[in-house]
């Protein structure tokens, strides 16, 4: 039997004005288990807390009921007080007689009666309280960043700068991501490579960072502070530590006609290749689907010209297992496929391109060495039509396109239009828009410059149809302000394709038990207040995997995610919330119902031997809750049909005791 002390607070007149505190403490004194009951002007004051500590010592109290303001206000305070008095902090229950009683009722009689009932409920609960100790788990002081674009690079650099080890896993042969493919960046027009490649080099040279390029994450186990991750290093048939990146093999490779992914298939690369000059790691990779030697054992030219002896045709995929304390997802985006958008003739004409392809066409390292030439005939286009919102802002039920705004298209289209007019003033540039959205520092100024200084024709309306005719593209569109239908004979049409999360994100989310929205963007723990954390503890979000973002925003989020990771890794031990679920293994059926409702993946199953009444032993599958991962919502307790799952601090018997006390 508990020895319970009841402490009724006046809160000045806040409570005492509508509740007869003396009557409350008198009434509660008669409840079973209550050995001490008093009231005081301000329980939360130092004097009030001292009163509690003294009473605990004097009366050997084992549980405390404080009738005061909301537990959201002072529960933590009184738990500390209990601890000071030598009690377990979880032996305290608060009866909220201010916010939910004295402040909402006007008559003393009614307020007093209700306060007594609330006090009784708290007493009934504290009878069933048990001392709780938060679990502790160690933290592996190493972070994993999945994705090596600008988001992943920035996050990794910031974490490494704080002195922690970081590994980057990138599925392509080089880090750099989409930003490496861009020409200039808005709104300042610095060249993407000039600002990105130094960062890539920083990463490569940073002692705290390891880069696993051409690799992917295949398995994630464990929980915050203690993830066990398996990384598959795909065979690139070149020894990474030996290859010097000289490029002799690339020059000599006879299999030259393979679409170059880096230039979005607009030119070709050999079977052995280095994606671009500043690639990190600058190491060749053999495409096993293109290489003759790997396909049928005939060739071997690259091995012969490689003076370093780096080529290894027998290389196998390698699996690396590593422990991490935190995981950052930075899987990025891709433009959506234009296959379903027949009306723009993307598949019929080479001269209808996406904006990312346009970037490559204007990039000095691109397929045309930076000259803006039509992909079909290499001629200079004289009339270019840009179409915005292709596949963005579509109806949720539409068969094609995405419901959201892709956010970056308005600005890069203005950039493309401006750069075109700047380099080729004789080119006519039309931009068809629905709305021009430019919220960002210096963004609207940038767009206005495109119109006012560079004479880009912005037309409010949408392109309905593009028809190839001879070497022209007939663009039929509406001009809503002039109330006209236009027909423009363009040479080049550029589609601002919507962007979508990378396809690797969905299986990764499953591995991480991190939640996603219907568009496959990762969900943040709170849309406003915890934007870079996933609801799954220890998993953080960086860049476009969480939603469309431009570079400045991506970099800010990347650094924010790094700050969160550092805040986690700097701890030696993680202290959990002790109010968590726990399963009574003797009653557990192993049915998986609890596992299916757990938002955190905190529940796993083990086969365990049980001694039976007849002295035999029996193997049974039972649920186990990982105390470091469980957040204590209680969803599992209701999903469990046998009642094996219960929640500490809010156990079924405690809640029912409260119900009984209230209804008595």
């Amino acid at each position: 039997m508990q020895r319970i002390g009841v402490f009724v607070c006046w809160c000045g007149s806040n409570i005492a004005g509508t509740v007869d505190v003396q009557a409350v403490s008198d009434a509660l004194k008669n409840e079973p288990g209550v050995v001490f009951s008093t009231n005081y002007q301000y329980m939360c004051s130092q004097a009030g807390q001292d009163l509690i500590v003294d009473a605990v010592r004097e009366h050997n109290l084992t549980g405390l009921v404080i009738c005061s303001c909301s537990p959201r206000m002072h529960e933590a305070t009184f738990r500390k007080t209990a601890q000071k008095a030598g009690l377990n902090p979880y032996m305290v229950e608060i009866a909220n007689i201010r916010e939910q009683c004295s402040w909402v009722h006007k008559e003393m009689e009614i307020g007093t009666e209700k306060a007594i009932i609330l006090g009784k409920a708290a007493i009934a609960k504290v009878h069933l309280n048990a001392p709780l100790t938060p679990g502790e788990s160690p933290v592996t002081k190493r972070a994993l960043v999945i994705g090596g674009g600008i988001a992943g690079i920035q996050t990794a650099l910031d974490i490494a700068d704080a002195g922690f080890k970081v590994d980057i896993v990138e599925k392509l042969p080089t880090i750099g991501g989409k930003m490496a493919q861009l020409d200039k960046t808005f709104p300042t027009l610095d060249c993407a490579a000039c600002i990105l490649t130094p960062k890539m080099v920083d990463v490569a040279q940073n002692e705290n960072v390891r880069i696993f390029s051409y690799s992917e994450v295949t398995e994630v186990k464990g929980f915050v502070g203690n993830f066990d991750v398996t990384i598959k290093k795909n065979a690139r048939y070149v020894k990474e530590d030996i290859c010097t990146g000289c490029g002799a093999c690339v020059d000599k490779c006879p299999m030259k006609k393979n679409p170059n992914e880096f230039n979005l298939g607009m030119d070709n690369r050999p079977a052995i290749y280095i994606p671009f000059a500043q690639a990190v790691p600058k190491v060749a990779t053999i495409d096993p689907n293109a290489c003759n030697m790997l396909k049928n054992g005939k060739c071997g030219l690259c091995a012969r010209v490689c003076t370093a002896g780096a080529i290894d045709y027998t290389q196998k995929d390698e699996y690396i297992e590593e422990k991490y304390g935190a995981i950052v997802v930075a899987t990025g985006y891709n433009p959506i496929s234009m296959d379903k958008f027949d009306e723009f003739a993307y598949n019929q004409s080479k001269d209808v391109i996406t904006s990312l392809e346009f970037e490559r066409l204007t990039n000095a390292a691109g397929p045309t060495a930076g000259k803006l030439l039509r992909p079909s005939d290499g001629k200079h286009p004289e009339k270019i039509v840009f179409v915005q919102c292709v596949g963005s802002r579509c109806d949720a039920c539409a068969e094609k396109g995405k419901e959201y705004c892709s956010k970056i298209c308005c600005m890069y289209t203005a950039k493309h239009a401006m750069l075109t007019r700047d380099k080729y003033p004789d080119t006519e540039v039309y931009v068809f828009y629905i709305d021009v959205r430019t919220p960002g520092k210096n963004f609207d100024e940038f767009y206005r410059r495109a119109v006012e200084e560079y004479g880009v024709h912005y037309i409010k309306g949408m392109v309905g149809k593009v028809t190839p005719e001879g070497d022209k593209l007939i663009v039929q569109a509406s001009d809503l302000l002039a109330d006209k239908q236009l027909k423009i004979d363009a040479d080049l049409v550029v589609l601002a394709a919507a962007i979508e999360p990378d396809k690797s994100a969905r299986p990764l989310a499953t591995m991480l038990t991190a939640s996603m929205d219907t568009n496959d963007f990762f969900t943040e723990a709170h849309p406003k207040l915890r934007p870079v954390e996933s609801p799954t503890a220890g998993v953080f979000l960086s860049g476009c995997c969480q939603g469309p973002k431009d570079i400045p925003e991506t970099v800010s989020q990347a650094s924010a995610a790094a700050a969160k990771v550092i805040g986690l890794l700097v701890k030696d031990k993680l202290t959990g919330n002790p109010c968590i679920a726990s399963s009574n293994e003797l009653m557990c059926n192993g049915c998986s119902s609890c596992e299916r409702v757990c938002p955190y993946g905190a529940i796993t199953y083990v086969d365990k031997e049980f001694r039976m009444p007849d002295r035999t032993t029996r193997m049974r599958r039972v649920a186990q809750v990982n105390p470091a991962v469980c957040q204590g919502c209680g969803a599992c307790t209701v999903a469990c049909p046998s009642g094996a799952m219960d929640l500490r601090g809010f156990s079924s018997s405690q809640i029912m005791a409260e119900v009984d006390a209230i209804c008595k």
């Binding site: 909402v104 209700k114 409920a121 609801p535 938002p599 209680g634 929640l647 119900v659």
Partner: protein, 144 residues
């Protein structure tokens, strides 16, 4: 003969993060609602077992209301989505057994909706008062 005014007994389960805070806000703003409402704090609406609701009726409650974060705002991401399904099915079953459907309710109240909390409780108390005493799920042994 003087008839004693009928006062219903209402048990309100409120999730810690939204609705309990909403109730606190109602208090902060001194918004009145009947003292017949007694709140039990739970971490999340998904902690509420149908057994708790039946228990409340057994012990003499005349109405039980469950308050949680708005769908999509759950502190634990998905708890209230499970609550929504569980309670829809439970309430439908109680109705199937002929128990007045007005005695049970689910309401989403955010931490900012003190006014909604008070209004909801006023409305619920009025509804249950109009229904009168809970006879169909009573346990006479528990009557005063």
């Amino acid at each position: 003969m003087q008839v004693k005014e009928y006062k219903p007994l209402i048990v309100a389960f409120c999730c810690n993060w939204c609705s309990y805070a909403g109730a606190d806000l109602a208090g902060n703003n001194r918004l009145n609602y009947p003292a017949d409402v007694k709140i039990i704090r739970v971490p999340c609406s998904c902690r509420v077992n149908p057994m708790f609701i039946l228990r409340a009726f057994q012990r003499g409650a005349d109405g039980v209301i469950l308050c949680g974060c708005h769908p999509g705002d759950c502190h634990y991401t998905s708890g209230n989505y499970f609550t929504r399904r569980r309670m829809a099915l439970l309430f439908s079953m109680l109705d199937f057994l002929g128990i007045e459907r007005e005695r049970t309710r689910v309401e989403w109240v955010s931490a900012a909706e003190g006014a909604k909390f008070a209004a909801t409780m006023n409305d619920f108390v009025a509804t249950v008062t109009a229904l009168g005493e809970n006879k169909r799920l009573e346990d006479l042994r528990c009557k005063k």
